[in-house]
Protein backbone atom coordinates (compact mmCIF):
# COMPACT_ATOMS: atom_id res chain seq x y z
CA UNK A 1 0.00 0.00 0.00
CA UNK A 2 2.76 2.38 1.05
CA UNK A 3 4.86 1.36 -1.94
CA UNK A 4 1.91 1.90 -4.23
CA UNK A 5 1.35 5.38 -2.82
CA UNK A 6 5.00 6.26 -3.20
CA UNK A 7 5.06 4.83 -6.70
CA UNK A 8 2.03 6.91 -7.67
CA UNK A 9 3.54 10.05 -6.19
CA UNK A 10 6.76 9.45 -8.13
CA UNK A 11 4.83 8.90 -11.36
CA UNK A 12 2.84 12.09 -10.83
CA UNK A 13 5.98 14.11 -10.11
CA UNK A 14 7.59 12.67 -13.27
CA UNK A 15 4.51 13.61 -15.31
CA UNK A 16 4.52 17.15 -13.91
CA UNK A 17 8.25 17.50 -14.63
CA UNK A 18 7.80 16.31 -18.24
CA UNK A 19 4.87 18.62 -18.87
CA UNK A 20 6.59 21.64 -17.33
CA UNK A 21 9.80 21.04 -19.33
CA UNK A 22 7.90 20.47 -22.58
CA UNK A 23 5.75 23.57 -22.07
CA UNK A 24 8.77 25.72 -21.21
CA UNK A 25 10.55 24.56 -24.37
CA UNK A 26 7.41 25.26 -26.37
CA UNK A 27 7.18 28.68 -24.81
CA UNK A 28 10.74 29.60 -25.70
CA UNK A 29 10.57 28.24 -29.23
CA UNK A 30 9.68 31.29 -31.27
CA UNK A 31 9.97 29.62 -34.66
CA UNK A 32 13.59 30.81 -34.79
CA UNK A 33 14.61 27.71 -36.72
CA UNK A 34 12.35 28.44 -39.69
CA UNK A 35 13.20 32.12 -39.55
CA UNK A 36 16.93 31.34 -39.70
CA UNK A 37 16.29 29.08 -42.72
CA UNK A 38 14.31 31.85 -44.46
CA UNK A 39 17.13 34.38 -43.96
CA UNK A 40 19.76 31.82 -44.93
CA UNK A 41 17.97 31.29 -48.24
CA UNK A 42 17.67 35.06 -48.51
CA UNK A 43 21.42 35.38 -48.28
CA UNK A 44 22.05 32.71 -50.94
CA UNK A 45 19.34 33.94 -53.33
CA UNK A 46 20.43 37.52 -52.75
CA UNK A 47 23.95 36.76 -53.87
CA UNK A 48 22.82 34.62 -56.83
CA UNK A 49 20.50 37.42 -58.01
CA UNK A 50 23.19 40.05 -57.56
CA UNK A 51 25.58 38.02 -59.74
CA UNK A 52 22.93 37.51 -62.40
CA UNK A 53 22.19 41.25 -62.52
CA UNK A 54 25.93 41.95 -62.75
CA UNK A 55 26.25 39.51 -65.67
CA UNK A 56 23.27 41.18 -67.36
CA UNK A 57 24.99 44.54 -66.73
CA UNK A 58 21.97 45.77 -64.75
CA UNK A 59 24.14 47.26 -62.05
CA UNK A 60 21.42 49.49 -60.57
CA UNK A 61 19.36 46.42 -59.78
CA UNK A 62 22.02 44.64 -57.75
CA UNK A 63 21.37 46.53 -54.50
CA UNK A 64 17.65 46.80 -55.06
CA UNK A 65 17.40 43.02 -55.56
CA UNK A 66 18.54 42.50 -51.95
CA UNK A 67 15.96 44.98 -50.74
CA UNK A 68 13.18 43.50 -52.88
CA UNK A 69 14.02 40.01 -51.64
CA UNK A 70 13.86 41.17 -48.02
CA UNK A 71 10.12 41.90 -48.43
CA UNK A 72 8.98 38.26 -48.94
CA UNK A 73 11.58 37.10 -46.37
CA UNK A 74 10.15 39.54 -43.85
CA UNK A 75 6.55 38.50 -44.52
CA UNK A 76 7.42 34.81 -44.34
CA UNK A 77 9.04 35.49 -40.94
CA UNK A 78 5.86 37.22 -39.80
CA UNK A 79 3.86 34.22 -41.00
CA UNK A 80 6.03 31.83 -38.95
CA UNK A 81 5.55 33.98 -35.84
CA UNK A 82 1.78 34.23 -36.46
CA UNK A 83 1.57 30.47 -36.78
CA UNK A 84 3.36 30.06 -33.47
CA UNK A 85 0.93 32.45 -31.80
CA UNK A 86 -1.98 30.11 -32.64
CA UNK A 87 -1.91 28.49 -29.21
CA UNK A 88 -3.24 31.78 -27.83
CA UNK A 89 -0.98 31.49 -24.81
CA UNK A 90 -0.66 34.93 -23.25
CA UNK A 91 2.93 34.24 -22.22
CA UNK A 92 3.89 32.82 -25.62
CA UNK A 93 2.44 35.84 -27.37
CA UNK A 94 4.52 38.11 -25.17
CA UNK A 95 7.70 36.12 -25.99
CA UNK A 96 6.88 36.23 -29.70
CA UNK A 97 6.19 39.94 -29.70
CA UNK A 98 9.51 40.52 -27.94
CA UNK A 99 11.34 38.30 -30.44
CA UNK A 100 9.61 40.09 -33.28
CA UNK A 101 10.57 43.50 -31.98
CA UNK A 102 14.13 42.48 -31.19
CA UNK A 103 14.95 40.87 -34.52
CA UNK A 104 12.73 41.91 -37.32
CA UNK A 105 11.74 45.53 -36.81
CA UNK A 106 15.41 46.66 -36.56
CA UNK A 107 16.26 44.46 -39.54
CA UNK A 108 13.53 46.11 -41.58
CA UNK A 109 14.79 49.52 -40.51
CA UNK A 110 18.31 48.56 -41.55
CA UNK A 111 17.01 47.42 -44.92
CA UNK A 112 15.36 50.81 -45.35
CA UNK A 113 18.63 52.53 -44.51
CA UNK A 114 20.31 50.28 -47.09
CA UNK A 115 17.95 51.40 -49.86
CA UNK A 116 18.95 54.98 -49.17
CA UNK A 117 22.65 54.08 -49.04
CA UNK A 118 22.50 52.01 -52.22
CA UNK A 119 20.89 54.90 -54.02
CA UNK A 120 23.30 57.48 -52.61
CA UNK A 121 26.40 55.28 -52.95
CA UNK A 122 25.62 54.24 -56.49
CA UNK A 123 29.34 54.15 -57.36
CA UNK A 124 30.14 51.69 -54.55
CA UNK A 125 32.19 48.89 -56.19
CA UNK A 126 30.26 45.64 -56.71
CA UNK A 127 32.35 43.51 -54.39
CA UNK A 128 31.73 45.84 -51.44
CA UNK A 129 27.96 45.46 -51.57
CA UNK A 130 27.58 42.20 -49.60
CA UNK A 131 30.19 43.14 -46.94
CA UNK A 132 28.47 46.53 -46.65
CA UNK A 133 25.02 44.96 -46.13
CA UNK A 134 26.36 42.48 -43.58
CA UNK A 135 28.28 45.17 -41.69
CA UNK A 136 25.14 47.30 -41.37
CA UNK A 137 23.05 44.31 -40.22
CA UNK A 138 25.77 43.16 -37.77
CA UNK A 139 26.09 46.69 -36.34
CA UNK A 140 22.34 46.70 -35.75
CA UNK A 141 22.57 43.43 -33.85
CA UNK A 142 25.58 44.70 -31.88
CA UNK A 143 23.62 47.74 -30.73
CA UNK A 144 20.58 45.66 -29.87
CA UNK A 145 22.75 43.09 -28.10
CA UNK A 146 24.25 45.76 -25.84
CA UNK A 147 20.76 46.86 -24.92
CA UNK A 148 18.84 43.60 -24.64
CA UNK A 149 20.36 40.17 -25.00
CA UNK A 150 23.79 38.55 -24.91
CA UNK A 151 22.99 35.99 -27.64
CA UNK A 152 22.17 38.83 -30.06
CA UNK A 153 25.40 40.60 -29.08
CA UNK A 154 27.41 37.44 -29.85
CA UNK A 155 25.60 37.09 -33.19
CA UNK A 156 26.48 40.69 -34.02
CA UNK A 157 30.12 40.23 -32.95
CA UNK A 158 30.61 37.07 -35.04
CA UNK A 159 28.90 38.70 -38.02
CA UNK A 160 30.91 41.90 -37.72
CA UNK A 161 34.29 40.25 -37.12
CA UNK A 162 33.72 37.64 -39.84
CA UNK A 163 32.76 40.28 -42.38
CA UNK A 164 35.76 42.51 -41.54
CA UNK A 165 38.26 39.61 -41.69
CA UNK A 166 36.93 38.22 -44.99
CA UNK A 167 36.67 41.70 -46.54
CA UNK A 168 40.22 42.66 -45.55
CA UNK A 169 41.85 39.40 -46.58
CA UNK A 170 39.80 38.25 -49.56
CA UNK A 171 37.99 41.28 -50.94
CA UNK A 172 37.66 39.87 -54.48
CA UNK A 173 35.85 36.77 -53.22
CA UNK A 174 34.28 38.41 -50.15
CA UNK A 175 30.75 38.53 -51.59
CA UNK A 176 30.78 34.86 -52.50
CA UNK A 177 32.40 33.70 -49.25
CA UNK A 178 30.22 35.84 -46.97
CA UNK A 179 26.97 34.96 -48.77
CA UNK A 180 27.79 31.28 -48.58
CA UNK A 181 28.96 31.49 -44.94
CA UNK A 182 25.96 33.49 -43.76
CA UNK A 183 23.49 31.56 -45.93
CA UNK A 184 24.68 28.07 -45.11
CA UNK A 185 25.40 29.05 -41.49
CA UNK A 186 21.85 30.29 -40.98
CA UNK A 187 20.27 27.28 -42.72
CA UNK A 188 22.31 24.85 -40.61
CA UNK A 189 21.46 26.82 -37.43
CA UNK A 190 17.78 26.68 -38.41
CA UNK A 191 17.87 22.93 -39.00
CA UNK A 192 19.63 22.39 -35.65
CA UNK A 193 17.09 24.60 -33.83
CA UNK A 194 14.18 22.73 -35.43
CA UNK A 195 15.68 19.38 -34.51
CA UNK A 196 16.44 20.44 -30.90
CA UNK A 197 12.85 21.50 -30.35
Amino acid sequence: MIDQEKQQALENIALIKDMLTESRQELHYTGGGWIAIIWGLYSLLGYAGQRLFALARLYDWEGLWWVALSVPAFFLSVLVIRNRAKTQSVKLRRTLIRAFLLFWIPLLMLMTVLIVFCLVLADLPDHYLVPFILLVVSTGYLMLGFLFQRSILIMGLIGFAGTVVVTLLLIEQASLILSLLFGIGLIVTGLVLNRKR
Binding site: I2, D3, E5, K6, A9, L10, E11, N12, I13, L15, I16, M19, L20, E22, S23, R24, E26, L27, K86, T87, Q88, S89, V90, K91, L92
Partner: protein, 102 residues
Amino acid sequence: MNEHVSTQLDRVLTQKARLGIMSILMVMQETDFNYLKDKLKLTDGNLSTHLSLLEKAKFIRLRKIFVRKKPKTLCQITDRGRRAFLDHMDTLEKIIKDIPQK
Protein backbone atom coordinates in the same frame (compact mmCIF):
# COMPACT_ATOMS: atom_id res chain seq x y z
CA MET B 1 1.65 9.77 9.26
CA ASN B 2 1.87 8.53 5.67
CA GLU B 3 -1.87 8.10 5.34
CA HIS B 4 -2.29 11.56 6.80
CA VAL B 5 -0.02 13.09 4.17
CA SER B 6 -1.79 11.37 1.31
CA THR B 7 -5.17 12.62 2.50
CA GLN B 8 -3.86 16.15 1.94
CA LEU B 9 -3.73 15.49 -1.82
CA ASP B 10 -6.29 17.44 -3.78
CA ARG B 11 -8.70 14.85 -5.17
CA VAL B 12 -9.35 16.91 -8.29
CA LEU B 13 -5.67 16.82 -9.16
CA THR B 14 -4.99 13.15 -8.47
CA GLN B 15 -6.14 12.23 -11.98
CA LYS B 16 -3.21 12.28 -14.44
CA ALA B 17 -4.97 14.08 -17.30
CA ARG B 18 -6.04 16.92 -14.99
CA LEU B 19 -2.55 17.11 -13.52
CA GLY B 20 -1.22 17.36 -17.09
CA ILE B 21 -3.66 20.17 -17.93
CA MET B 22 -2.66 22.09 -14.80
CA SER B 23 1.08 21.57 -15.45
CA ILE B 24 0.75 23.02 -18.96
CA LEU B 25 -1.31 25.94 -17.72
CA MET B 26 1.18 26.67 -14.93
CA VAL B 27 3.70 27.51 -17.66
CA MET B 28 1.46 28.76 -20.46
CA GLN B 29 -0.96 30.66 -18.21
CA GLU B 30 -3.61 30.49 -20.92
CA THR B 31 -3.96 28.21 -23.90
CA ASP B 32 -6.64 26.82 -26.20
CA PHE B 33 -8.60 23.57 -26.17
CA ASN B 34 -6.92 22.08 -29.27
CA TYR B 35 -3.44 22.72 -27.92
CA LEU B 36 -4.26 20.77 -24.75
CA LYS B 37 -5.93 18.02 -26.77
CA ASP B 38 -2.80 17.58 -28.93
CA LYS B 39 -0.35 17.72 -26.05
CA LEU B 40 -2.23 15.33 -23.77
CA LYS B 41 -3.55 13.07 -26.55
CA LEU B 42 -7.11 13.16 -25.23
CA THR B 43 -10.43 12.98 -27.07
CA ASP B 44 -12.72 16.03 -27.24
CA GLY B 45 -15.20 14.48 -24.80
CA ASN B 46 -12.56 13.36 -22.37
CA LEU B 47 -10.83 16.72 -22.29
CA SER B 48 -14.17 18.55 -21.92
CA THR B 49 -15.03 16.45 -18.87
CA HIS B 50 -11.67 17.15 -17.23
CA LEU B 51 -11.87 20.85 -17.99
CA SER B 52 -15.39 21.05 -16.56
CA LEU B 53 -14.21 19.45 -13.32
CA LEU B 54 -11.29 21.84 -13.05
CA GLU B 55 -13.59 24.77 -13.76
CA LYS B 56 -16.05 23.55 -11.13
CA ALA B 57 -13.20 23.50 -8.60
CA LYS B 58 -12.38 27.06 -9.77
CA PHE B 59 -8.86 26.01 -10.74
CA ILE B 60 -9.30 27.23 -14.30
CA ARG B 61 -11.44 29.73 -16.17
CA LEU B 62 -12.95 28.85 -19.54
CA ARG B 63 -13.98 31.41 -22.13
CA LYS B 64 -15.07 31.19 -25.72
CA ILE B 65 -13.82 33.51 -28.43
CA PHE B 66 -14.26 33.60 -32.20
CA VAL B 67 -11.20 33.58 -34.44
CA ARG B 68 -12.13 34.09 -38.11
CA LYS B 69 -15.72 33.09 -37.31
CA LYS B 70 -14.56 29.81 -35.71
CA PRO B 71 -15.24 29.26 -32.00
CA LYS B 72 -12.23 28.73 -29.80
CA THR B 73 -12.22 27.67 -26.15
CA LEU B 74 -9.51 29.29 -24.05
CA CYS B 75 -8.45 27.85 -20.70
CA GLN B 76 -6.77 30.06 -18.15
CA ILE B 77 -5.36 29.05 -14.80
CA THR B 78 -6.72 30.93 -11.77
CA ASP B 79 -4.79 32.01 -8.67
CA ARG B 80 -6.66 29.37 -6.72
CA GLY B 81 -5.61 26.73 -9.29
CA ARG B 82 -2.00 27.87 -9.09
CA ARG B 83 -2.01 27.58 -5.29
CA ALA B 84 -3.74 24.19 -5.40
CA PHE B 85 -1.18 22.90 -7.89
CA LEU B 86 1.77 24.05 -5.76
CA ASP B 87 0.21 22.56 -2.62
CA HIS B 88 -0.41 19.32 -4.50
CA MET B 89 3.24 19.18 -5.54
CA ASP B 90 4.37 19.82 -1.97
CA THR B 91 2.21 16.97 -0.76
CA LEU B 92 3.54 14.62 -3.44
CA GLU B 93 7.09 15.49 -2.38
CA LYS B 94 6.17 14.88 1.28
CA ILE B 95 4.79 11.45 0.41
CA ILE B 96 8.03 10.54 -1.34
CA LYS B 97 10.18 11.83 1.53
CA ASP B 98 8.05 10.59 4.45
CA ILE B 99 7.82 6.99 3.39
CA PRO B 100 11.00 5.19 4.48
CA GLN B 101 12.88 3.24 1.82
CA LYS B 102 12.86 -0.54 2.21
